[in-house]
């Protein structure tokens, strides 16, 4: 038993170390080469249409199968990543077969890529080094036959996908001044292990906290306590996950420092029951629900549990908090009018106002800036759908439309996407979707998966 968590911690620590190493590499070797002038840097497509990109397999410069596999993986993942923000049209990779693969970065068949309709071509080389892999990456303006993005990356060979994620984020930054989310992660709870809760007469399945890349790759179990572990949420620095666990027989808030393998229970006070933690945007405070005064109310405490402050005071249920991007306000769910509805209150406990007047709403999540909106779920029939309230216009729009039940939305850190759960494919699975309701992708497939939260 004790080895398991330690092993996991080790894996996570290594993964994190790898991430840091790679993340820093491009900064060190990146922008040194001379770049073409500003005007030529941005690749454009036909008027009114997004530029079309092609991403053929990278060129493996080392003869071993691992490098060859990495050259394929990087290209495939990069194709996915570059399509995710829907700023570019990605030409399907199975249409490249007729174009002879390049042997070097000076050997590109630009005419053939032009025939295929490509405006931009992302390609590169992969080489084995003593410490892992080195990649050289180019984004070519196909019409001008000119490289507009020319960077080198090196890092461990254990996770070639991370190279692709880094490149995708940097291309989005350079071409669109957009913060991509390819290196962000999700956390969620899952019953996929099929393990039984101990000490109950009825058969009850455990739920454990998991993390994964934003696209569902590299799914890893974080908790191993065979109890109910639900509603996990990333700290803003993405080094900790706060969640609700029943490992002591009642709900309490646990904070797992996932790269250190340590655990904290800052809100535990005399067996009080606390659940649904929500980090303030600066990570210094946590809002949560507690029945410590006899009724579900909202509280805010410092991250270490000090300075507990009661936010609501009402015989109704007050729960499910989410912070505004500046930390000045909290949106939450209350049933003080009879059915659960979304309200907003100042973190100074002033200015309570009602946002929704529908049959049943819950799980508000405040968008990051520059958007100023709240996503939440509404009962729309037998199940739920996701709606978004825009503060500027005071208008509400709907994102999902009755395909299964859709719950628990969480914004991506750039505000352009939502992760949520849906039963549209059978069991409860995690999906991502654009804030305009387009670009649906399924993230999980194993067991049932619940309450995703997107790293900041």
């Amino acid at each position: 038993m004790p080895q398991k968590p330690i092993l996991l911690i080790l894996i996570l620590a290594l993964a994190y170390a790898g991430v840091r190493a790679t993340a820093q590499a491009p900064a060190a070797t990146g922008q040194q080469r001379p770049q073409p002038s500003e005007i030529e840097l941005s690749i454009t497509g036909e008027p009114g249409a997004p530029p079309k990109y092609a991403v053929p397999d990278f060129i493996a410069l080392s003869p071993d199968p691992e490098t060859a596999a990495a050259a394929k993986t990087v290209a495939a993942v990069l194709w996915d990543d570059l399509g995710f923000e829907r700023e570019f049209y990605l030409i399907p990779r199975d249409t490249y077969a007729s174009i002879p693969p390049a042997r070097s970065l000076t050997d590109i068949a630009f005419d053939r890529w032009r025939e295929l309709g490509a405006d931009g071509l992302v390609t590169g080389t992969v080489q084995k080094t003593a410490n892992g892999l080195r990649l050289e990456v180019r984004l070519f303006n196909v019409r001008a036959r000119q490289s507009v993005f020319d960077r080198e990356y090196s890092g461990p060979a254990t996770n070639p996908r991370f190279f692709a994620h880094t490149v995708a984020d940097e291309v989005h930054q350079q071409q669109r001044a957009l913060r991509g989310v390819a290196r962000t992660k999700l956390t969620f709870s899952s019953d996929r292990d099929g393990e039984r809760v101990q000490g109950t007469v009825e058969r009850r399945e455990v739920k454990e906290v998991y993390i994964s890349d934003y696209d569902g790759a590299n799914q890893r179990r974080v908790t191993v306590n065979r109890a109910l572990n639900i509603m996990p949420t990333w700290s803003p620095d993405a080094r900790s996950i706060a969640y609700t666990s029943y490992r002591r027989g009642y709900p309490d808030i646990f904070i797992s420092l996932i790269y250190q393998g340590t655990l904290q229970t800052p809100m535990a006070a005399g067996g009080t029951q606390n659940w649904l933690p929500a980090w303030s945007p600066d990570g210094t405070r946590i809002a949560f629900t507690s029945s410590r005064d006899g009724n579900p109310e909202l509280y805010v405490a410092n991250r270490d549990g000090s300075n507990v402050r009661r936010i609501t005071n009402n015989p109704a249920i007050d729960t499910t908090p989410t912070w505004s991007p500046t930390g000045a306000q909290i949106a939450f769910t209350t049933d003080r009018t009879g059915s659960p509805q979304i309200y907003v209150i100042g973190a100074d406990v002033l200015n309570l106002r009602r946002i929704t007047s529908e049959s049943y709403c819950d799980r508000a999540t405040w968008s990051p800036s520059p958007f100023n909106e709240l996503a939440f779920v509404c009962r729309t029939g037998p199940g739920y759908d996701i709606k978004i309230y825009d503060f500027a216009s005071a208008q509400t729009r709907q994102i999902t439309f009755g395909e299964g039940s859709n719950e628990s939305p969480s914004y991506s850190p750039n505000g352009r996407h939502l992760a949520f759960t849906s039963t549209r494919a059978g069991k409860t699975q995690i999906f991502t979707i654009g804030r305009d309701g387009n670009g649906l992708r399924q993230v999980t497939t194993l067991g049932n998966n619940y309450t995703p939260d997107w790293s900041k």
Binding site: T200, V201, E202, R204, K207, L228, I230, M231, T244, Y246, G249, Y250, P251, Q273, W275, L276, T289, S291, G294, N295, P296, I317, T319, T320, T333, D335, S339, P340, Y360, D362, R363, V377, R379, P382, Y384, E407, S408, Y450, T451
Partner: protein, 193 residues
Amino acid sequence: MNTVWVRRTALLLLLLVTVAAGACGKKKPPIARPIPPPPGGSTTVTPPPEPPTPAPEPTTVPPEPVAEDTIAAGSIDDINRNSPLKPVFYALDAAEVDADGQKVLQGNAEILRRYTTWQISIEGHCDERGTAEYNLALGERRAVAARNYLVSLGIPADRVKIVSYGKEFPFDPGHSEEAWSKNRRAHFVVTAK
């Protein structure tokens, strides 16, 4: 014991037979005066065949206390597997204990008064139609409502813990009204005895 009983029966039969054999003394009350058994010819019929009949007597004595002991004697898991504490059911999106629920809780209070050392946990559960987040609070209210009623019946509050599981542990995994109505409940678990 048995031998005494057989002897007495035999004596009684002998007496009856004697009276019958006399076939007359209706006026005489059959006073038990078993002095001299008259050596009539009929005497040979009497004692041996009758004794096996007396079945009824022993049945009146043992059964009830044994049944009571089996509740308290089992392990806590045994008690919870076939619990004398019955669940309270709730309406959709509601946490009020209705008349049926009150009757159930009165029965549960009766049990708790009999087993004064039992500690219990009331679990609040919800059906799948609410959201996971709100249901954690709704389950809490259901458990609190059940506890408050038990306490109003004189059960000490410190014997009763509560915990909400929201919709995390449905008793019936189905998706029908029948399943949902089973899942909206306050469930009683004995945690110490």
